[in-house]
């Protein structure tokens, strides 16, 4: 009873204190982020509208000149095409493979713990080091893939893949592009698969049992019942994959540096080449800013998907 009478005043003081406490606890993180994410974003935009270089760091306003100049270069045009192609093709392959992998992991089988570790390795490994393994696997002279192809009679004189003993994966336009996509698929399929797996295991088992009683096959249950239910989760997995591939520098940096010529050039690599190696800070910043609108759309899509999940 006495608690009842004490409660009202105490509660209002408490909630005031709590608001102050909440602000105090949040402030350090927010200040840090404003200083080292917010400020750099502003600087980045200022750079892109100026003529700043490493040699001459004074900012003179030049309007959209950097963007105009950047768009005209063939390297940039190729970088836009490659970035989009790599992202879309890799993402489609990842979604198909991740679905299969996730379904496999809903089953019981011997050695599942080991399979789990092996499958997650590509995602857990620092991407630069994993890509280094592929650089050696795809070597122009010592690729073991070439060796296998020669042994089974697909590569070499008078065979399907041509007279040479080496395909030179990273030295030819389409093979190099395929190699970049392959490494993205290798690295990101595990992540998408575990996200989808979490979605699949959360589905109410009764729904699935019901479908099977009604005579639906395994594949049909998957396509018509499970997939629609995990669509939001799949959307999130896709958006993560999208952002990670779209903005990635490492795979191209380690594997091809944008080559041969500039056939695997991507936006991030070109921004790095221009902005740091070339010292043209303004143009480098302008190239990187081409990411911004696309990322903004991705962010909005993520927010909307999350809202849809909350409503359900």
């Amino acid at each position: 009873m006495s608690v009842e009478t004490v409660k009202p005043p105490r509660f209002s003081i408490l909630s005031d204190n709590e608001r102050v406490l909440g602000a105090l606890m949040l402030a350090p993180a927010v200040i840090f982020i404003l200083a080292l994410v917010g400020l750099p974003l502003v600087i980045s935009i200022a750079f892109s509208l100026s003529d700043v270089t490493v040699g001459d760091t004074s900012l003179d306003f030049v309007g959209l000149e950097n963007f105009r100049r950047v768009i005209r270069t063939p390297q940039f045009q190729r970088a836009v095409v490659d970035t989009v192609v790599f992202t879309i093709v890799a993402l489609l392959i990842i979604l198909v493979l991740a679905n299969i992998l996730a379904v496999i992991f809903t089953q019981d089988f011997h050695g599942k713990w080991l399979a789990r570790i092996l499958v997650i390795l590509p995602w857990a490994t620092p991407i630069a080091l994993g890509t280094l393994g592929w650089l050696w696997l795809l070597d122009s002279k010592f690729s073991p893939i070439d060796y296998v192809l020669v042994q089974i009679g697909l590569l070499g004189p008078d065979t399907l893949l041509g007279p040479g003993l080496h395909l030179n994966y990273l030295g030819r336009e389409f093979l190099a592009m395929g190699s970049v996509i392959l490494v993205h698929v290798w690295r990101l399929t595990p992540l998408s698969a575990v996200i989808l797996l979490a979605g699949l295991t959360s589905i109410d088992q009764e729904l699935i049992d019901q479908a099977q009683v009604d005579g639906a096959s395994g594949l049909r249950t998957h396509l018509q019942i499970k997939l629609p239910l995990i669509t939001p989760i799949m959307a999130i997995a896709s958006l993560f994959g999208f952002i990670l591939i779209f903005t990635d520098l490492v795979v191209v940096f380690v594997l091809t540096r944008g080559g041969p010529i500039y056939y695997t050039q991507v936006l991030s690599m070109w921004s790095y080449n221009k902005g740091l190696e070339g010292g043209a800070l303004a143009e480098g910043a302008a190239i990187a800013l081409f990411f911004a609108p696309v990322l903004l759309v991705a962010a909005v899509l993520i927010l909307r998907t999350v809202r849809r999940i909350e409503v359900n």
């Binding site: 760091t57 857990a124 620092p126 050696w136 990411f291």
Partner: protein, 279 residues
């Protein structure tokens, strides 16, 4: 019966195929690491076997003739300091968003997550100028200062979800017993959050280990390189690739990180799906 058996066979075939695809590069790294030059660089040799006895010379070279141990030390140092900074800032921020920020707390924690998605490639040029202005270029401290921009948003958002899943009654009971909100947080909520905080430590550490662009840009002195840049950039000298040592360098880091990571995976997944799915 026969159908079930075919299904099993199909399942195991698929499992083996996937495991092979994902693990093959690591297998290839391990085989390579122990090969002699003469074995490795003879095109007639079957690359999957040891045509000559395996050797430890490459590991010896890696540890005693390169800066590899220095790279590891640098990565551990940066990782440890960033973990501490991240915990100091993200734990209170996460709690604030989960409990004290009221209705906009949830929106704000999603905002945190979106900040985590701002890619380093968008910020590395201006951050490079800031690092130079602070006279931190070529120092590991440049990474200590910039990595929390990635780890704090991510950890705050993960922790906000975690704190939010702890029943409110527990703190309220403690507060009725006379604890202040803050001491209820420290004495009641934190001890219950140990597993979440360990997960945050693991992910913060691996994020710093993975990061490439800032490490490549801000630190150019070989002695100050971290593992993810040091190995691919410094150990490749001109056109002479020390493949065996390179592969050893990669796999020595990859396997332990992979195993630890897989232990904490379910926590990450629960986070990534925004709690829509309880992993």
């Amino acid at each position: 019966m026969a159908r079930a058996r075919i299904r099993r066979a199909g399942l195991y075939t698929a499992v083996v195929a996937f495991c092979f695809f994902f693990a093959a590069p690591f297998l290839w790294m391990i085989i390579t690491a122990f090969k002699t030059d003469r074995d490795l660089y003879r095109a007639q040799n079957n690359p999957f076997f040891f045509n000559e006895p395996p050797t430890l010379d490459n590991l010896d070279f890696l540890f005693f003739n390169t800066n590899y141990l220095g790279f590891i030390r640098n990565s551990l140092f940066v990782g440890a300091v960033v973990v501490i900074i991240t915990l100091l800032l993200a734990v209170p921020a996460g709690y604030s968003l989960a409990r004290l920020a009221g209705r906009w707390g949830e929106r704000a924690s999603i905002g945190m997550f979106l900040i985590y998605l701002v890619p380093p490639i968008l910020l590395f040029i201006p951050l490079f100028r800031i690092v130079v202005a602070l006279h931190l270029n070529n120092s590991l401290w440049s990474l200590v200062v910039t990595y929390p921009t990635i780890t704090i948003p991510f950890s705050t958002w993960l922790l906000a979800g975690f704190f939010g899943s702890i029943p409110r009654d527990l703190e309220e009971a403690a507060m009725v017993d006379g604890y202040s909100r803050f001491s209820a947080f420290v004495r009641v909520v934190l001890p219950l959050s140990v597993s979440g905080i360990i997960a945050v430590i693991v992910f913060t550490f691996t994020l710093t280990l993975h990061e490439f662009i800032y490490a490549l840009t801000f630190v150019t002195a070989s002695a100050q390189r971290t593992i993810s840049v040091g190995v691919p950039v410094e150990l490749i000298r001109g056109d002479v690739f020390f493949w065996q040592s390179l592969m050893a360098a990669a796999v020595i880091v990859a396997i332990p990180v992979g195993i630890v990571y897989s232990l904490f995976l379910s926590r990450l997944v629960a986070g990534l799906t925004m709690g829509a799915v309880k992993g």
